[in-house]
């Protein structure tokens, strides 16, 4: 084994900077952030999406009743709903399309042939998407409150932090979908499978109280239902973390379940 040690010392070891798991993680995170701002169309869509949705949905000028009996304009429940929805789309879209493209084109295969562990690349994907989720959540909140005039009574910090961290469940879900997709073509239908029930039944845009009991019960387990309920409680009712036990548990179950599935099934090559 002495010869092997000598080889290591004479080869790449001479210019070694840090362990591959760490330097690879940092480089992959920077690369992923570059991938987002170097594609102007994708960037405009990601950052502009909440503004476009706000412009359209603000046209629905009616009032709605909160669980505490207070009657508020639709905009006040729409903005937190939109923040939750955007957390989901950034988490899902941000992982599904690039990761499946990297997989299909053998980019992951090339990276997998290096000493960097798979986990470092996956963590880099997660960190970069969390940063985007934070940016888009902030944009939605700033425009919703300061441009369109939504009246959000709860803690803005908790709202933004919860929505950003909540997008973790969707990032994990996105990685699982890529792991199970046979090709890039499978990804869009898989996304629709999550997106459509989430838009219709999570409460992000439409009031869930009108749903029949059986549908209400089934869709109460959707990850976006948990996230929407939590951010609306924070923004509209001024609730804190101690009031959000069910939502936190629901999101945590989705997150842990998806992570276990991803760890079992996701392969770089």
């Amino acid at each position: 084994m002495a010869t092997s040690e000598a080889i290591l010392a004479h080869g790449s070891a001479a210019r070694r900077t840090s362990p591959p798991w760490w330097s690879g993680l940092v480089a992959a995170t920077i690369s992923e952030i570059k991938s987002l701002y170097r594609e102007p169309a994708a960037l405009a869509f990601t950052l502009g999406q909440p503004i476009v949705l706000l412009v359209i949905l603000v046209a629905f000028d009616f009032h709605t009743t909160l669980p505490n009996g207070k009657v508020v304009p639709y905009l006040d429940v729409l903005v937190p709903g939109l923040i939750a929805f955007i957390g989901m789309t950034v988490g899902l879209n941000g992982v599904l399309f690039p990761l499946s493209r990297y997989k299909e084109r053998g980019i992951l295969r090339r990276v997998a042939a290096t000493p960097m562990p798979t986990g470092s690349f996956v963590v880099a994907m997660i960190v970069s998407r969390l940063l985007i989720a934070l940016a888009v959540t902030l944009i939605t909140w700033v425009f919703g409150v300061y441009v369109f005039g939504a009246d959000l009574t709860g803690s803005a910090f908790l709202l933004i932090a919860f929505a950003t961290i909540g997008s973790l469940a969707f990032i994990a879900l996105g990685i699982v979908m890529v792991a199970f997709a046979r090709s890039e073509d499978d990804v869009a239908p898989l996304m629709m499978l999550v997106l459509i029930p989430s838009i219709l039944f999570s409460g992000a845009f439409l009031d869930r109280s009108g749903l029949p009991d059986w549908l209400h019960w089934i869709t109460s387990g959707l990850p976006l239902t948990f996230l929407t309920d939590a951010v609306q409680q924070i923004a509209n009712l001024g609730h804190g973390l101690s009031d959000l036990g069910t939502d936190i548990l629901g999101l945590a179950i989705w997150c842990v379940g998806a992570t276990i599935l991803a760890a079992w099934r996701f392969k770089m090559a």
Binding site: A2, T3, L8, T17, A27, S35
Partner: protein, 281 residues
């Protein structure tokens, strides 16, 4: 040149140990045996070729050597390090150019090399690497702006980011025109002169004969013959084999050049000039 071979691994104690040892390697996919018990050693400083038709098991073998696929049975050692047991350590000594693998669209050539270097925990000399493959003036270009030949040369530079003593090239010249192929051969030879060991797979016999010190001919998952190209040729002649020799005044390549008006270097031929002047009349 900055990409000089590191000392120590082609001489002295290193010479006694093969750069690559493949021992009784098997790969089974379901009921299909892609690789059926192959063994060979590659000595430091050699260019070793894995030859064979499509489906012979070359890529499966290289994938097991890189640790991208687990072997069903058998062993792979890179300078004495078992890749199945010490994957990261073995990969640090290995440079790879893989078939059906690509690079990021959003990074420049320089950034791609820096990124890959970081995956090995090293900071590569990107200027020297790009200079070596004659892309030194294009550090800020994107991969899709390059021609096929330039892309293959870039992939070769990317295989060297970790300054590896052993370089694996999976069909490096597939899809290249004859000029680009010869450029790539010259680069591979320079790598060998720098002291590196090279294992390449190919289905171009000319490439194997031109480049390789030794070749293993693979067919249906087994090694059918292993030796220097010349020894294998002599072995075949000794069996009484005689190649049918047909001498023609022109080849199909000559016809192609005459009709397209191009030489391999892109110069117009007389025939094309005549054709053009005729057409203009």
């Amino acid at each position: 040149m900055a990409i000089a071979a590191p000392d120590g691994w082609q001489t002295g104690a290193g010479a006694a140990q093969p750069a690559l040892r493949v021992a009784d390697l098997h790969k089974r996919y379901g009921k299909f045996d892609a690789v059926r018990g192959i063994s060979f050693d590659v000595q430091p400083g050699e260019i070793f070729g894995l030859l064979g038709p499509n489906g012979a098991g070359k890529t499966s073998t290289l994938e097991m050597v890189t640790g991208l696929r687990d072997a069903t049975a058998g062993k792979v050692e890179i300078f004495g390090i078992d890749i199945a047991r010490h994957r990261a350590e073995a990969r640090a000594l290995l440079g790879v150019q893989l078939q059906e693998s690509d690079f990021f669209d959003h990074l420049t050539l320089k950034e791609q090399l820096e990124f890959l270097g970081a995956c090995y925990g090293v900071k590569p000399d990107t200027g020297a690497l790009l200079g070596y493959v004659d892309l030194g003036d294009r550090p800020n270009w994107r991969l899709k702006q390059l021609s096929g030949g330039q892309q293959q040369r870039f992939a070769l530079a990317a295989a060297l980011v970790n300054d590896p003593p052993l370089v694996l090239l999976d069909e490096p010249s597939t899809g290249l025109d004859p000029t680009a192929r010869r450029q790539l051969w010259s680069l591979i030879r320079r790598l060998q002169e720098g002291g590196r060991t090279i294992v390449l797979s190919t289905h171009y016999m000319e490439e194997a004969e031109e480049l390789c010190d030794r070749v293993a001919v693979m067919d249906r998952g087994v090694i059918a013959g292993i030796d220097t190209p010349l020894a294998l040729i002599h072995e075949l002649i000794a069996t009484g084999f005689k190649r049918e020799v047909v001498v023609r005044d022109a080849t199909l390549e000559d016809v192609f050049l005459h009709l397209t008006g191009n030489t391999l270097e892109g110069e117009p031929t007389d025939g094309r000039q005549k054709e053009n002047s005729h057409g203009n009349q």
